[in-house]
Assembly symmetry: C2
Homo-oligomer: 302 residues x 2
């Protein structure tokens, strides 16, 4: 269909964006088991944890232990970091890459990290320099890029200005995140196309939530705009604390299944992936939001 | 995004494809109320019932009464018809249009209507002539067009041959139906493009189930291929008796919501539509599969 990328690279974010929004604590041993299952399924890159304040995000309080338990795996280990203290911990734990989050709007930035957008930008400039010196890859996730619960649609020009600001500060791997799941495919196509055209040196990524069932349609639009890197979450884990009713990330199972059908290789084995889904479902003792997983469950019980 | 149709026309199929797959009987009065609510929301065309054997589809045993109860509405009333007896009943009830179903594969055709595909084609040829004489619009729904639970993927050439057969027999409004929900956007785009190119006189329609969460992505692909008519089902009602675990049609709420975001007019008022969803949910006493409805519910209870 028109020009789609030959190869698609997925970053699994269930262990981070997923778990941080789940009320139930997944034990360290279970996290390590899940990461191993995902690696066996062929996932090459994962946000495995966050180095953030354990009292704020208790679900990920075991970041160091998780990192220690997956030393032998041949995957790229990404962690989220929100400040200097987290950076020190991530550095000590020898992560391969760090995700930094910056909101597209000031109000969401304050709600999310208790800091003005301006202050976050200053901090991120400093972090980027350190990471460069320490030879750690950095990726920037621009939250609520397509719509904010407090300020509404930030507008394309705001996003492009923010990207320019961050490119000048050393960020060259940037994700536009639809934290609320409110983006539509036309918007995704137009905005992503503009971003790719204006900043062709940036490695672009897209991150969608499936709140309104548009996750896969938005990925399709992103593919058509030329993006080949997408975040996805096993089982559709996650949510958005500032968007009541918002579901989690688009599920890795549904993304892989659709891309398989389109003959776009992700190198992920869908059956192995579903074993990881079953493990997640058993630990959380609930139905996953992944459509593929739900169909398989019904077939098993039919 | 590339060339999208300016205007999209939705055919509501919840009362037919939806209810026929629901175990709970919706009373005649409730059906009429629902149709009225959908009409108030701006739905201009609906499959309001089926004139089929009540012992086979008890959910729609009240077809005549439903038609009698909506005489005053300014909507196009479509009903499904499966044989001569049904045709007589639909004619007597003064429907505006009839949906005839033909499966893309012989095995599904036998399972669905207990008749070989060849016999169905002969019958449909006869029906098309009668409908032409009686001045009733006909539309053909090709079931399992993108994938069959018994025979797998029928292949594009099979579909194009079948379309040619039916065009020769007087069908000029034809829908490709992804009864199983197994289509992917690439397939939808390629096949629909081929169908539109080969048969430019046909008024094309697409009908998607959301089994694997691809309903909206497939609609997007169909729009890009040049289709402007889509079926959708209020609340995502429905399922597929031969596909365990298959969810219902893509929900009208999610389709309208996405198209609104894309500035593609459907003339449907989303808030009025959600009132109809709430009515359905209250009558079936369960959560609807519509993503938009689910988000609104969570917000109301938060």
């Amino acid at each position: 269909m028109i020009n789609l990328p030959q190869k698609v690279r997925l970053t699994e974010v269930g262990l981070r964006d997923g778990l941080q929004n789940e009320s139930r604590f997944l034990s360290t041993a279970d996290k390590i088991t899940l990461i191993r299952m995902l690696a066996i399924a062929g996932i090459e890159e994962m946000e495995v944890t966050s180095f953030v304040n354990p009292s704020v995000v208790p679900a990920l309080a075991d970041a160091e232990q998780v990192m220690d338990g997956i030393r032998d795996l041949e995957i790229r280990r990404i962690s989220l970091v929100a400040n200097d203290r987290g950076y020190e911990r991530a550095l000590a734990a020898r992560v391969d890459a760090i995700t930094f989050v910056l909101s597209a709007t000031d109000m969401h930035n304050r709600a999310n990290v208790n800091r003005s957008q301006k202050d976050s930008i200053e901090m991120l400039e400093r972090m980027a320099k350190r990471a460069h010196d320490d030879d750690i890859e950095i990726r920037l996730a621009i939250s609520v890029a397509f719509g904010c619960p407090f300020e509404g649609n930030p507008g394309l020009s705001t996003i492009l200005r923010l990207v320019e600001t961050m490119v000048q500060r050393g960020f060259f791997r940037i994700g536009l995140c639809d934290t609320m799941g409110v983006a539509n495919p036309q918007q995704v196509f137009d905005w992503t196309r503009a971003a790719l055209t204006s900043f062709s040196d940036v490695e672009w990524e897209l991150h969608f939530h499936d709140t309104y069932g548009r996750g896969l349609a938005n990925i399709l639009a992103g593919l058509q705009a030329g993006v080949s890197r997408f975040d996805a979450s096993i089982g559709g884990l996650g949510g958005c604390p500032f968007a009541p009713g918002a579901t989690g990330n688009v599920s890795t199972e549904d993304v892989v299944s659709m891309l398989d059908g389109m003959n776009l290789s992700t190198k992920v084995d869908i059956n192995r992936l579903l074993e990881a889904s079953d493990f997640v479902a058993s630990k959380f003792a609930r139905r996953l939001t992944s459509n593929l997983w739900q169909v398989r469950q019904s077939q098993c019980s039919a």
